[in-house]
Amino acid sequence: MMHIADVLKAFQPHRGDAIVVPGRGGRHWINLSDNQMLDAPVGDPAMGGHAGFAFGLALAQPGRKVVLFDSEGDILMSLGMLVSIAEQAPTNFYHFLLDNECYATTGGQPVPNAQNVAYDVIARGAGYPRAHAFTELAPFASALPEILDRPGPVFVALKVHAEIENAPITQRRRWNPRSRDKVAHDLHETLAKG
């Protein structure tokens, strides 16, 4: 098992000028990012859509890497997205999955069949040409440069510790100073400048 913050720290030196959709890792990535105008911490507009949003960015910006940190709860809501991504096969799309085996933001209840799902196998079966799975940080960090150097699409399933939240939503600390529509606007403007 890895900590989400450690996963993102391992990725950060390799970010380059990639667009990063941090998904449920946003609260950590905001403290690590060196280019927040190319980040898309949109929070949770509607569960299950992070993969589609990042995929759309990859289609629109074929000359720039798009790196997504998805979650298993999200992708379980939209497994069909994997076949759409695999069909288009954007070579600039890097799909990481933070699998904490539960719905952490609602108190940590397990996702269905939490400990017995091989998401890398599902991705490969959907048509992703490359898929990996890691449970420990060291081998992941070691493999990361090659994963990112090769063309996408690639799927990387990562087992991470759950960061469970039980406080009522209104009492949770707001970590993102930008609203999600401001995030989308800022990224759009940044990309328009080239």
């Binding site: 507009p45 569960m47 589609g52 759309g56 629109a60 939209s78 997205m81």
Partner: protein, 172 residues
């Protein structure tokens, strides 16, 4: 109302509206109205067709395409639009995405008497979501498609075009 068997909404007209409005990506799920349009879109080099397996997926994909600087259009049926409610709310309305959803109006009869609850609830759904919409039944109505694109761009909101031509134009 023109006789639908004589005057219909042709797929060529719809494709022309897409091109006129700079559509780069059509995010879609096939329905009973769109096969001829599909063949035309597939042959059009300026369009990328992005197939989805459930209509709600189209919303987040279109949002990413729009934020990335291109022009998506969503092409689905009214049944799928209703299934997509939370994604329309969160990904399209919540991120201020200017996008046109072209929605096949399954069950539309024009006279208010229908046997299909998909038609019964379509406009009620649109009103509940406060989504602006235009009805297109024939080629003569096609300029409304451009009106929808202009409104989406001006308001930075999703705008719906209801295609009330289930058995004619798109199928030839």
């Amino acid at each position: 109302m023109p006789d639908g068997s004589v005057v219909a909404l042709s797929p060529e007209t719809v494709l022309g509206e897409m091109k006129k409005n700079g559509v780069s990506h059509v995010v879609w799920l096939p329905d009973s109205e769109t096969n001829w349009l599909y063949l035309l879109m597939k042959a059009e080099p300026s369009l990328t067709l992005v197939g989805v397996s459930r209509e709600g997926h189209a919303c987040s994909i279109a949002a990413g395409i729009a934020v990335g600087g291109r022009t998506p259009m969503i092409l689905i049926q009214n049944t799928g639009m209703m299934e997509s409610g939370d994604s329309i709310r969160g990904w399209l309305m919540g991120l201020n995405i200017p996008v046109v959803l072209m929605v096949g109006y399954r069950g539309w009869t024009r006279h208010g008497v229908n046997a299909d609850t998909a038609a019964t609830f379509t406009e009620r759904f649109l009103m509940a979501f406060n989504l602006s919409y235009y009805l297109v039944e024939s080629d003569a109505d096609a300029p409304r498609i451009s009106v929808a694109f202009q409104e989406a761009a001006r308001t930075r909101k999703p705008v719906v075009v209801l295609v009330g031509d289930e058995y004619h134009g798109f199928n030839r």
